[in-house]
């Protein structure tokens, strides 16, 4: 047991800090800090900057051009990047699709798609959920029927995050209807420029057009875009869901949120003194900070065990639930910290992107963040579903 970082880890932290100081565009980090939406170009720009340094694909093996960082290195990066308000790495290609391709894709598929993820030529989105298939993903209905050397795909995907920027979508589709739902699903890569693909935006409750419906009508997909075997897609999907969980606790996001919350509390006035000196509010902040300190250690502890070859199954579910609880609590306190200034609707869409925020705390986006992050306990396996997993493991076979 040793809570201190090694010499190498400390040196690595210095490297990360220097890199961020040198390469992170202050205008972009300002947008991240104040909860503004980034443009596609800004997100791509950050990917390119990381790629140039070899730090984009942090969990990929070196053989595929990855950084092959340890769990601790990834955590250090996450923490420093969040502190510096760096844009988040868009996960769909890098941490969702890539591990599946590396494990189940053909050599041709790996050679074709992986470099394009690194270079940014492709922007992937995730086509799992459907209107009727959320938590019960296996009930998905989008059909793919073989026709010569193509599949013909019909159906509708929904909640597709940043699908408006994507040129590629990885989809779960039904290729067999005569068997158990889980056994008739395949994993298909679809070029969104194919005729019959239509993307319709969905505006979220905070005003952001962050997700989309993706309608698929007679979309012809070459069979070489099938990953692995037909009807084995459920195995790959589950692999994807359980594999990339190193960031599942969102410790870095929590820490950045906590820093921002403390800044707000120091600036906000409460009866003529800073809000941070108000015992009631100070106690509320302390409570989440104490929770977060323990979570950070749980995260490292669990990831270290995973690194040693143990799959973090139930533990990942625990990290997801606790991490999202804490993050939402921080968002909630930030909204409360700004008092009546939580009320303005800080949407670029409505106000025009360069309109000055009305409040002197420059915190008009806290309500937006509070509302938007209600999603984190819903997606990525809703927290109720995570608790079912934990309970099943704990109680399964005993009752």
């Amino acid at each position: 047991m040793d809570l201190s970082y090694t010499e190498q880890e400390l040196a690595f932290r210095e490297d990360v800090r220097d890199f961020l100081a040198e390469h992170l565009d202050p205008q972009v980090s300002q947008k991240v800090r104040t909860g503004r939406e980034l443009t596609k170009a800004e997100m791509e720009g950050w990917h390119a900057t990381l790629h140039a340094r070899g730090w984009l694909a942090q969990n990929w093996p070196k053989s595929h051009g990855g950084a092959e960082w340890t769990a601790v290195q990834r955590f250090i990066y996450e923490e420093e990047a969040a502190r510096a308000s760096a844009p988040r790495i868009v996960p769909f290609g890098l941490s969702m699709l890539a591990p599946v391709l590396m494990e189940f894709g053909s050599k041709e598929q790996q050679d074709r798609w992986l470099p394009r993820i690194l270079s940014g030529e492709d922007w992937w989105c995730q086509g799992y959920s459907e209107p009727g298939a959320g938590s019960d993903l296996a009930s998905l209905k989008t059909r793919a029927v073989r026709d010569g050397d193509h599949y013909v795909v019909n159906g509708q995907k929904t909640w597709t995050t940043l699908g408006q920027f994507a040129n590629m979508i990885f989809c779960l589709v039904r290729t067999d209807t005569e068997c158990k739902p889980q056994e008739g699903i395949s994993f298909l890569l679809i070029d969104m420029d194919t005729p019959g693909v239509e993307v319709r935006p969905i505006v979220l409750l905070d005003g952001t057009p962050e997700v989309n419906e993706v309608w698929l009508t007679d979309v012809r997909v070459p069979v070489e875009n099938l990953v692995g075997e037909e009807n084995k897609g459920w195995t790959y999907a589950k692999y994807l869901l359980t594999h990339e969980r190193t960031n599942i606790a969102g410790v870095g996001f929590c820490q950045a949120g906590l820093d921002a919350l403390k800044r707000l509390a120091r600036t906000a006035n409460h009866n003529g003194r800073p809000l941070s000196e108000n015992p009631l509010f100070a106690a509320r902040i302390a409570q989440v900070e104490i929770e977060l300190m323990a979570l950070a250690t749980s995260n490292l502890r669990i990831l270290a065990a995973a690194g040693a070859g143990r799959a973090p199954g139930v533990e990942a579910s625990m990290l997801k639930v606790k991490g999202t609880d804490i993050r939402q609590a921080i968002n909630d306190l930030a909204r409360r910290a700004v008092g009546p200034y939580a009320m303005p609707f800080a949407s670029e869409d409505v106000e025009g992107s360069n309109a000055p925020l009305p409040d002197p705390l420059n915190a008009g986006a806290v309500t937006k963040a509070y509302l938007n992050n209600r999603k984190i306990s819903i997606f990525g396996g809703a927290n109720e579903v995570q608790k079912n997993i934990i309970a099943k493991t704990a109680l399964g076979g005993r009752g």
Binding site: V203, M343, F379
Partner: protein, 375 residues
């Protein structure tokens, strides 16, 4: 003790519910969102015709109600339907102050308010004030040319659609002194009054108000110089009751929508409502709803009594906590659909959450309850 509604209030409640169910669709609400004034003039005059605004004033003021029970009945219905029109701001808050303090000329405005012809907004909060009522830095100085106002007011709800703003400003006393706060009736087109408007998360609009050399005649003062504190506190108490009733109504709708959704949405081959983990959470929401209703009743029942402020604070502290829980639980149990702007629940959840940011949030009222209980 009797918890039944009087016949008159029951009738008002029924009429209003029918009217809103009939007229106040989400399509209409969405049109209001893109309206520059943030409200529907047509709905406004219909509400006035139905007597909804008159019910918020007593007979001496030209209305036919005005008690806590009347306020609660009206706002619970407005809340249930997710109404965004600023009835609270024009009638209870600003209108209430004019009715309370106005001289005969100024009282004439109340008639126009009741008739649905006039909007008025209270410009009291300041950028640094948070929820602290006596925190007034705006200055009013009187000389031969009149009274000059200087300063800035924050998040003034419905300022842009209002013909008059009631502006609080300090004529004497130090920061946070009750003594020395005066109230002024300022026509919105007065030179030196600058509004920067914006949309609110819960819909409707508000503005930052800059007072830069606004000059008024002494007739525009409401009540006695430096003595505005009591009227402000009273208007805030009545508005808090209105806000709580509105939140109660909105929570009722959120709970109903959640119950309905859980019985219709199917996953894993069954309605979501068949999962016990969710059943218990619905049960808890309903238990909290009863607490919320009783808290609101406590508050409205003490509106004219000696324990008013402590009771209001107890109720509003609890409402803030319950509101957060019900809004968040409703969203969570709906899943992704509730995250969309188009889906009605999102609107109700935002109304509920934003209700906590008006007239003191739950922490403000918790601390005030402690102070008043110790006093």
């Amino acid at each position: 003790m009797n918890f039944d509604l009087s016949d008159e209030r029951q009738m008002l409640s029924d009429t209003l519910r029918r009217f809103l169910a009939d007229k106040y669709s989400s399509t209409l609400r969405n049109e209001v969102l893109s309206d520059p004034a943030g409200l529907s003039r047509e709905i406004w005059s219909q509400l006035a015709e139905l007597g909804v605004i008159g019910a918020l004033f007593d007979e001496a003021q030209g209305g036919f109600g005005g008690a806590g029970g009347d306020i609660a009945v009206v706002f619970e219905e407005l809340g249930r339907a997710g109404v965004v029109e600023p009835v609270l701001d024009t009638a209870v808050l600003a209108g209430g102050i004019i009715a309370d303090l106005g001289n005969a000329d100024q009282q004439a405005l109340v008639e126009q308010i009741i008739a649905g012809e006039l909007h008025v907004a209270l410009a009291h909060g300041e950028p640094e004030a948070r929820y602290d009522l006596p925190y007034v830095t705006c200055r009013a100085a009187e000389d031969a040319e009149g009274i000059r106002l200087e300063g800035r007011k924050a998040v003034v709800v419905n300022a842009e659609a209002s013909e008059y703003l009631i502006v609080s400003a300090r004529e004497a006393g130090g920061l946070r002194d009750w003594e020395g706060i005066s109230l002024f009736l300022v026509p919105r087109d007065t030179a030196g009054l600058v509004l920067q408007g914006y949309a609110l998360a819960s819909r409707g609009r508000a503005a930052e108000v800059v007072l830069d050399g606004v000059t008024l005649t002494p007739e525009m003062r409401l009540g006695t110089a430096g003595q505005g504190g009591d009227a402000l506190t009273k208007a805030m108490a009545r508005s808090a009751v209105a806000q709580m009733a509105e939140t109660l109504g909105a929570m009722h709708t959120a709970c109903e929508m959640t119950q309905d959704y859980l019985m219709t949405r199917r996953q894993f081959g069954k309605p979501l409502g068949s999962f016990q983990a969710l059943q218990h959470r619905v049960a808890e929401m309903l238990i909290e709803m009863e607490q919320a209703r009783s808290a609101t009743i406590n508050a409205l029942g003490h509106l004219d009594g000696p324990d008013r402020d402590r009771q209001i604070s107890a109720a509003k502290a609890l409402m803030g906590q319950i509101g957060k829980r019900i809004a968040e639980e409703s969203i969570q149990m709906h899943g992704g659909i509730a995250m969309t702007q188009e889906y009605d629940l999102a609107h109700f959840a935002k109304r509920i959450i934003m209700g906590d940011h008006r007239f003191g949030d739950s922490d403000y009222h918790l601390e005030r309850f402690i102070d008043l209980s110790a006093a």
